[in-house]
Amino acid sequence: MKIYLTRRYLFAAAHRLHSSALSEAANRETYGKCNNPHGHGHNYFLEVTVSGPIVPETGMVCDLGALDAAVSRHVLDRFDHQNLNQLQEFAELVPTTENLTVCIQQILSRTPLPAHLEGIRIEETGNNSFEYSGAQAPRH
C-alpha cells in the first residue's frame, strides 16, 4: 500500500538568465527578456512529493509539520526573497528553472525527510512548470 503525498510551497526570488559561455548577442538571442541585466523575479510554487505506506495508528504517510519544517529550513529559508544569481549554487550555473529544479531536488535528497522523496515540481509562472525525480523513472 503506497500513497503519494504532495505539498505545495511558495517562494519569491529574482534571477537573470545569462551564460558566460555565450556572447552578449547570443545571450540576448537565447534568453530574450530574461537576459535583462537588472534581473527580474517570479513567485515560484514548489511541489514536493513524498511517498510511503500509511501508518495505521495515524492514518498518515508522514507528519506534515515535520515535512514543512524540513522544506522550510533547507529550501524556503535559503531561496525565498533572494537573488538566485548571487547564491553559491548558481555561481557557475544559469539559474533557469530547469537548473533550479535539479538543485532543489538534490538538496532535498540530502535532507532527512519524514517520508521517501519521490520528486519535485516547480511552477515558474502559471504557464511553465518543471519536474525532476533524480535518476528514477517517471512515476506516471
Partner: protein
C-alpha cells in the same frame, strides 16, 4: 492507452482521533485536527481512468457513465457529510486524505470496465494533495 481525468468536488467534515491514545497523544499527533467538534474541507477529487479508445464511440469511457458512478459510489455518500460519523469505512480508521484516497479507489475500482482505474488524486486544500495508484 489513453488516460481520462474527471474532476469532482465535495465538502465534508471530519476530525482525527485514535481511540487507543490519550487525549494528550491525540492532540500532540493531530494538532488542530484532533478537535472532536470537527472541521471541514472543500475536497477536489480527480479520478483518472486508462484504457483503449473504443473504435465506434471514440471514448475511453462514457463520461456520463463515469459521472454517475462517481456520484453513486462516492459523492452521494461523502458530500455534505461528516466522514467519521456517516461513512462506514471511517468508523474505525482515521479519515485522513491518505485513507480517503484508498477508500475512494476501493469504491470505484470494480465499476469502470472496460477502462481501468489509474489514479485517485484527492486535494484536501490547494496546497495539499495525495495520489493513490492501487499499489
Amino acid at each position: 492507452m489513453i488516460y481520462l481525468t474527471r474532476k469532482a468536488e465535495f465538502s465534508a467534515s471530519h476530525y482525527y482521533h485514535n481511540p487507543e491514545w490519550t487525549p494528550e497523544e491525540n492532540q500532540r499527533v493531530f494538532g488542530k485536527c484532533a478537535n472532536l467538534n470537527g472541521h471541514g474541507h472543500n475536497y477536489t477529487l480527480e479520478v483518472t481512468v486508462g484504457g483503449e479508445v473504443d473504435a465506434v464511440t471514440g471514448f475511453v469511457i462514457d463520461l456520463a457513465l463515469l459521472k454517475s458512478i462517481l456520484n453513486r459510489e462516492v459523492l452521494d455518500d461523502f458530500d455534505h457529510r461528516h466522514l467519521n460519523k456517516e461513512v462506514p469505512e471511517f468508523s474505525k480508521q482515521v479519515p485522513t486524505s491518505e485513507n480517503l484516497a484508498i477508500v475512494i479507489w476501493k469504491r470505484l475500482e470494480a465499476h469502470l470496465q472496460p477502462a481501468r482505474l489509474h489514479r485517485v488524486r484527492l486535494y484536501e486544500q490547494p496546497d495539499l494533495f495525495v495520489d493513490y495508484y492501487g499499489e
